[in-house]
């Protein structure tokens, strides 16, 4: 027997991440997917779509509000629990580590929810990785700019070539067991202090 399609609601203040999750669900064949960015809209949305599964990011400060809403709601006809099965601790831990939580209506089979959670967890993790890589790339670029500036100072004040300036920074860093960017930063600060 064909089971009725699950209705899924995503609540995430981060619009990019929300759309990544939404895409994942649609790729997996879900068509009843709704996305909202604020818990304030939740009453209206739940009344309109009666979701079976609600996925929410853990950074969202309004989880308490959402839970209280479930406890009062006459719109939600079946009680809602966090995750489908308290005994499935591994999945719950993975989800919380990834920064995502889910609420599921009572009576829903674990097998039906698991693929949704697995997808949400892996996409949350991928998004976090992406954000981290972006951050690293950005700080690498910053580091390079600082080193360039320090090289310029050495070239000007000591009359060194670019390669010599670079080697001096590198050997100083190695001798002092510090990062090259830290040496470069100290040099820039010192040059600023000593004036033009």
């Amino acid at each position: 027997m064909q089971q009725p399609e699950l209705s899924i609601l995503i609540i995430d203040e981060n619009r990019i991440r929300a759309s990544i999750i939404e895409d994942g669900l649609r790729e997996a064949g879900h068509t009843k997917v709704q996305v909202i960015h604020s818990v304030n809209e939740v009453a209206r949305t739940i009344a309109a779509t009666t979701p079976d599964v609600i996925v929410i990011d853990l950074e969202n400060p309004q989880r308490d509000t959402l839970e209280h809403f479930f406890s009062l709601s006459k719109v939600v006809q079946r009680p809602i629990a966090m995750f489908v099965d308290r005994s499935d601790r591994t999945m719950i831990e993975k989800a919380v580590e990834a920064g995502v939580s889910a609420y599921v209506v009572d009576g829903l089979k674990k097998e039906r929810v698991k693929p949704i959670m697995d997808m949400a967890i892996s996409r949350f993790n991928a998004f976090a990785r992406l954000t981290r890589e972006l951050e690293e790339a950005r700080s690498e670029l910053e580091d390079r700019k600082i080193i360039e500036k320090a090289k310029g100072i050495l070239m000007k004040t000591r009359g060194l070539s670019e390669e010599e300036a670079y080697k001096l920074l590198r050997s100083t860093a190695m001798n002092q067991n510090r990062r090259m960017v830290d040496i470069a930063q100290s040099l820039i600060t010192a040059a600023d202090l000593l004036g033009p």
Binding site: L58, N60, P61, D64, E67, H68, R86, V96
Partner: protein, 404 residues
């Protein structure tokens, strides 16, 4: 010697101060602990991450270990508290418009819960719409105190008004935008509402239920069992932090520490006022509440089992849990005075001999049987004069049933 890492979750509230000082003033390090503090965005996250073991311990609302142990919350896990993180600290703040209406009905601006509640009752009776109040979590001291105050003032919370849940830092904004008419929250969020949203502090926890616990050091029961040495070291550090915090001479430094963005992120002046119990209740009117926040005096850190039982009685009252002896026993067992005595006794910290006391028995400060040494308790009890005798739990619950 390498330090043992302990991870603690907290919310930006004044009564995270003992955890913060344990770290910032080196009390934890002196006990061999690297106390790692993680600021959270919601009580739901504190609850879940404590249950899953992401946090070893956490600043928790006093009823949270009960709710988790009683299975009222997701990931229900037996939780305990061996130590209270202070008495008091909450207030009830209302919008400028609601305060004006209450003023018109005779509310005094001296924070007295009784007359202010009576004025609220008259406003509610004539209000064309249901007023909406915010609390910070369902199973919170705030929810039960707000409801107690209203019910004792003749306002039935589930019939006459609406209660919504929002995390502490969002309450002043919600009030400012007209989403709610009032809220019950810990400092600094009452004073923030006054300073930035034109709100008025109507009454305080110290007037509703004097010398009562609010936040606790919560942890999983099995983790505590397996790590009693770490628990003891952390409790000693928090004890020293509490002693240090109790000295008013340290308040300016504490206010500076707590005002930092990674803790409260609010002006030091507001934090200092909350520590001193000296409030701008609205429109520049200054009121002093000496027992507003008690970090140490009056056995503030001692987990009275009768306090756990009172919170349990309110969970029953508002339909969150069925009253039965097994549930009452589970709730009582969450507060662990035995651990408190075992850990802090050797330091010469006096602890009450009894585990239970009658709330409302003391109207003046009084010495109680303690060991080691002497102990004086501040007046306790409820603004409506009703006492709570833990030995008469059933009749207390019955009497409250009539009032809901």
């Amino acid at each position: 010697m390498s330090l043992v890492t302990v991870t603690a979750g907290f919310l930006p509230l004044l009564d995270s101060v003992l955890l913060v000082l344990a770290r910032e003033k080196g009390f934890a390090e002196a006990e061999g602990l690297d106390l790692h503090l993680v600021k959270e965005t919601s009580w739901a996250n504190i609850r879940d991450r404590a249950a899953l073991g992401h946090f070893d311990v956490a600043q928790m609302l006093a009823p949270m270990p009960l709710a988790s142990s009683l299975g009222l919350t997701p990931l229900a896990t037996p939780m305990i508290t061996p130590m209270i993180l202070g008495l008091g600290n909450n207030g009830i703040t209302v919008s400028a418009a609601l305060w004006q209406a209450m003023r018109g009905e005779g509310a005094p601006d001296d924070l007295a819960a009784g007359p202010v509640g009576a004025a609220l009752k008259r406003v509610v009776d004539t209000s064309p719409r249901r007023l909406r109040f915010g609390v910070v979590h369902q199973t919170s001291s705030h929810n039960y105190e707000l409801r107690y105050w209203m019910a004792a003032s003749g306002v039935l919370p589930d019939r006459d008004i609406e209660i919504v849940v929002l995390p502490p830092p969002l309450l002043p904004d919600a009030l400012g935008s007209g989403g709610i008419d009032g809220y019950c929250v810990g400092e600094p969020w009452n004073s923030v509402g006054v300073a930035f949203k034109g709100a008025h502090i109507a009454t305080v926890k110290a007037s509703i239920w004097r010398a009562s616990p609010d936040k606790v050091l919560g942890m999983r029961a099995d983790w505590a069992e397996a790590n009693m040495e770490i628990v003891a070291a952390l409790m000693r550090a928090i004890h020293r932090a509490a002693l240090w915090c109790a000295d008013a001479a340290n308040h300016p430094e504490i206010a500076a520490i707590m005002s930092a963005p990674h803790y409260l992120g609010q002006p030091a002046e507001i934090v200092a006022r909350a520590l001193d119990g000296r409030f701008d209740v609205g429109a520049g009117v200054i009121r002093t509440v000496p027992d507003h926040f008690i970090p140490y005096a009056s056995a503030a850190n001692f987990p009275w089992k009768s306090h756990a039982l009172w919170y349990y009685s309110q969970m029953v009252r508002w339909g969150e849990v069925a009253h039965m002896p097994a549930n009452a026993a589970t709730a009582t067992a969450c507060f662990r005075p035995d651990i408190y005595r075992q850990v802090l006794g050797p330091l010469g910290v006096p602890a009450p001999i009894a585990d239970f006391k009658v709330e409302g028995a003391l109207s003046t400060p009084a010495a109680i049987p303690a060991s080691p040494g002497q102990l004086t308790l501040l007046p306790d009890g409820f603004f409506d004069g009703r006492t709570f005798d833990p030995e008469r739990l059933d009749s207390y619950i019955d009497s409250q049933r009539l009032l809901t």
